[in-house]
Amino acid sequence: MSVKVIKDPVYGYVEIDSEVVRGIIDTACFQRLRNIRQTSYAPLYPASFHNRFIHSIGVYHLGNKAFKAAIGSLEEESGLFSAEELINIERLFGLACLLHDVGHAPFSHTGELFFLADGGSPPLIYTKLTALVGDKMFAADVDSYSRAGKSAALHEIMSCIIALERFKDHIRDAFERDFFSRCVTGHRYINEEKGKHDILNCFIELLNSPIIDVDRLDYIIRDAQTIGFQSVLIDYERLLEGVCIIKVDGFHRLGFHKKALSIIENAIYAHDTQKKWIQNHPTILYEHFLLQHAMRGIDKYFANPGKRFFSYEALTREGIDFGSKGRVALLADEDVLHMMKSVCSDMLIDEYFARNRRRIPVWKSEAEYRALFESKLGPSTLDQLERSFKEIEKYLAEHFAIPVIDDALLAYLQAEEGRLIEKRDGKEITEKDYVNLMQGNMKIKRWALCLERIATNLGIPFDFVIISANKFKSGFLKQDLEKIRIVFPSLDMKAYIKDVSTILTSQEGRESFFYLFCRKREQTSPEEKRALATAKDVATALTQELFSMASED
């Protein structure tokens, strides 16, 4: 087998079969990933411009190592699969690692929700995937996952569709389509046949599991290293050497040798640290807010019966023709930026390009938020406050294309009262629903007037945005985390991580908080500088207002 090498800044030289390079990596579909940013961290970490292309190469590299370790641990049980079958399973697993993100939308996860815009229910991309795989057991398992509220992520589905449509020479028969798609989507074989599906499930978990898999491992390591974020080191070689397949109640299950335990803890810590300090940062959340607004506008601009900007066709080289609006092909971040600059511009999109026009967050972290409110308001009042602001955010998203708290909102609320009375009198809505809607209207109005008062007192524009954020909790669900199996060979013991590690100590608490963004007052002269309203002034005024309002509630 001839190989080519690709230099990865994280792992060094990665060897890849020449045929895979020519037949997959060098195709337009895969090269598109060079133009999809890996993260949304750029507003905070300017060096964060690494892309899905190098991430996919990295996952392929880690996947190979993990697969070899897993297979190595199975040696004493030869005969479960023939040598040819194992070689093919390894090849397919490698392809799944390489292609797991090939269907990613522009700007990573911000864009993928628009894959649903085709309007199907269940969404067309789900039915398209099951039709492409063409396997009854796969379709039944997809249905089961859906009935458990665990449908695959949209980019995973789209990646399978692209791969199955575009790389038919590499993913050929029903078994190959089925196993490949399961690896990418994480849909395990539910009705396992011992010695077959249970082993295949271990490989599926290696690429797509709720906790540690090679996809997550690569981005945790790569993101931190590329952007310059200080975090713990993750000895991935030691972790992957610890991958093993063990027997539990007669079934093969994925486990980790005890030597991997400290690295698993580090990986969980590194993941959660990024989540807490980067993904939840108000600058990142505000940029996401702007991009999602822009994408709604772009989707609407191109929307046509049977044609969407964010679609399978748009990801291909052939592309999709929108007549006088042009053709979209190999859709990537730059296409969205082009549309934002050229045809879909508005006040919020301008803010994307001119950061000095953006609103500023009144508090800049969960810690600041806690310092401002937690001790002053107490848990139950604060809970009420958080809920109220979440409700306002939701109301704005429901009712407005540009969700801002300003004079337009107050005027709308006033007019809405009249509309609600009309609907009730016309028996279009029930009395109960009328009462609920009217109470909601009053509540929003009360908070909007409070913010208007603060703005007037501080001499800043009455112009606020609310964006919810999740209070920090481990990004891993406890019940998922608990299921990691650790093997202690010298003790001849297997245990669940919850019984041997203290990492699972987070407590339940209130779940979300919010950021409030405001505009600064225009500075008219240098002497006025000290008198300018600052974020701190807004926060102080808000605390006073909130305290008195919350006490009335």
Partner: protein, 122 residues
């Protein structure tokens, strides 16, 4: 306007109808998906574009963010359901999920075709 309908809104509005009309405090994901499909159709018929957010990330978010209201009941044959916690009432749901909707969304959630998917006859 393009709307994202979160799983929490779908669950809450389904449960309001189920509790008030059938005294039933849970809804299966299977029913929820069917109900959501009809809600979308009604919205589209009224000129609104909307999509449902029902993938595993959204279910996980539901568990994280609304654990004070809902819990998951694992059912037979993977037919899982979302259950309103015993200490919560339909008024709690109404106050949080019916008060901030647009009238079009409310009409879609309570349309006769949508309710039929819940087995609620009006």
């Amino acid at each position: 306007m393009f709307k994202f309908i979160g799983i929490e809104d779908l669950v809450a509005n389904a449960l309001i109808e189920l509790i008030e009309n059938k005294n039933c405090r849970e809804v299966t994901f299977e029913t929820l998906i069917k109900y959501g499909a009809v809600v979308l159709n009604v919205m589209r018929a009224n000129g609104d574009e909307a999509v449902l957010l029902l993938s595993r990330e959204h279910t996980d978010e539901l568990i994280w963010n609304y654990s004070d209201l809902f819990e998951i009941r694992r059912g037979d044959a993977g037919n899982d359901a979302i259950v309103l916690r015993s200490e919560k009432t339909v008024d709690d749901l109404r106050a949080r999920f019916r008060a901030f909707l647009t009238i079009n969304s409310l009409l879609a959630f309570t349309d006769q075709l949508s309710l039929a998917e819940l087995g609620v006859a009006v």
